[in-house]
Amino acid sequence: MSDATFESRRLSPRTRLALGVFARYATIIGLVGMIAAFSVLSPRAFPTLNNFTNVLNQASLAVIISGGLTLAVIVGELDLSVGFAASLHGVLVTGLIVSNQIPVPVAILIVLLLGALVGYVNGLIVTRLKVNSVIATLGVGTILTGLAFAYASGVPIVAGVPESFLQISLGRWLFGIPNNILIMAVVLGSLWVLVERTSIGQEIQAVGGNPAAARLAGIDVARIKTLGFVISGVCAALTGVLLSSRLGSGTTNAADSYLMTAFAAVFLGSATLRDGEFHIVGTLIGALIIAFGFNGLNIFGAPTFSQYIFQGAILIVAVGLSSLGRIIAES
């Protein structure tokens, strides 16, 4: 509060307004600018319906895991376990189908419930044991990695993956749109309705905005925070399932790198349209920026190392924009 006030005194009203507009629209301008630039630089490969569908399809898993993470950060916590959880659940679902001969839908349901359980455990550790969420979820995530290795002995489960499981990611069951895009739309739409249009969503936003005030308004803060972790856990599990279906295997560590992507998307999103507030539409835009960025780098044949540099840089820029938005909001 006092820092923000101090900052704002040094800014003239006009500068503050300009900065505010810049911070709110910078990400959208960035996304549009990037698409425009790639279209000009690579008019044959980039701006095609095929490529855009491809980018969306690629982005869909990142969007789902980022959407779940958004719920955890809205309630004011960080969930570092999402990537590791997705990896474990990807291995588990493949194992259940291949080794235990469990029908595909049942296996998926089991894994999604386990995802909810992981989120619930995260929530209990944070709200009951009062462990800082960064430490708690890092610990849980590491344990999950251990479990994935224990389950699969570090060897990818490849043989015997049924076609019906692969078809989830590869199929186009509606209007020729890839299933992953459809699933992404349903998940993200549901999350948006939950946060923006339900009473539970109001409680979620209140807990994130000011936990003390939320508690004194009669909201069960621990319950709502745990719910944020549970949703994050389910979305991570779903991402793991879809990734295994896309890869055709259950591979330990396969989804670990989604952690970075999800955080970059969520923080980019918080700098979008609202001043430093996390929200679902923002997360979608954040995830698309990253997806189109990667796609462009691929099309221009940029070496692998540049993708890491791009992702690290974008995370820092994202958090910077997000806190700039918050400083302006408080001034």
């Binding site: 009473s199 109001q202 209140a206 905005g209 000011n210 003390a212 005030a213 004194l216």
Partner: protein
């Protein structure tokens, strides 16, 4: 109603309607089983609170942090009045509130009490209580040291009671 309005009662970046209805979400959903917010109910109820408490604003969707201290406080009072409580506890209801809004809040408290609500006002401002109260319990060092009723309630009586208690505990 808590003492620290900005840190304990309001979510400053959220709208007036969001803050006013936060403790009454069950009143604005379509049904208990389908907790979707009914935009019409939300608008009607939030505007009713604004009207009843004479909150000065052009829109219920404005961030509550942009209101004056007095109007912010009225939003918080409105939040709890909507629950139709039998007992209302107000902790420092006019701290950081300008004189005009302070008088308005005092009139409101008086009216609620006259209408039969039990209102407990906690205040560290001895000027606030005389106009407002039927009965004052003066506390010092965590204990009730004096009870004042009716005509006996005055600024000097309150100050005297609280300081005498401090002196005595100092001697001990």
């Amino acid at each position: 109603m808590p003492e620290e309005r900005r840190t304990e009662a309001l979510i400053l970046t959220k709208s007036i309607a969001f803050n006013a209805l936060l403790a009454n979400l069950e009143k604005i959903v379509r049904s208990p089983l389908l907790p979707l917010i009914d935009g019409q109910k939300r608008k009607t109820l939030a505007e009713a609170i604004m009207r009843d408490l004479a909150v000065k604003t052009d829109s219920i969707d404005k961030a509550v942090g942009k209101l004056s201290g007095g109007n912010q406080q009225k939003v918080v009072i409105g939040r709890w009045l909507l629950k139709r409580p039998r007992v209302l506890i107000l902790d420092e209801p006019t701290r950081g509130v300008d004189i005009g809004a302070r008088a308005e809040i005092h009139r409101l408290i008086r009216k609620l009490a006259d209408d039969g609500m039990a209102v407990i006002v906690i205040s560290s401002d001895p000027d606030e209580l005389p106009d407002l109260s039927d009965r004052v319990l003066v506390m010092a060092e965590g204990c009730v040291v004096r009870e004042l009723r009716g005509e006996a309630i005055s600024r000097t009586a309150i100050i005297e009671a609280s300081y005498r208690a401090k002196e005595q505990s100092g001697k001990r």
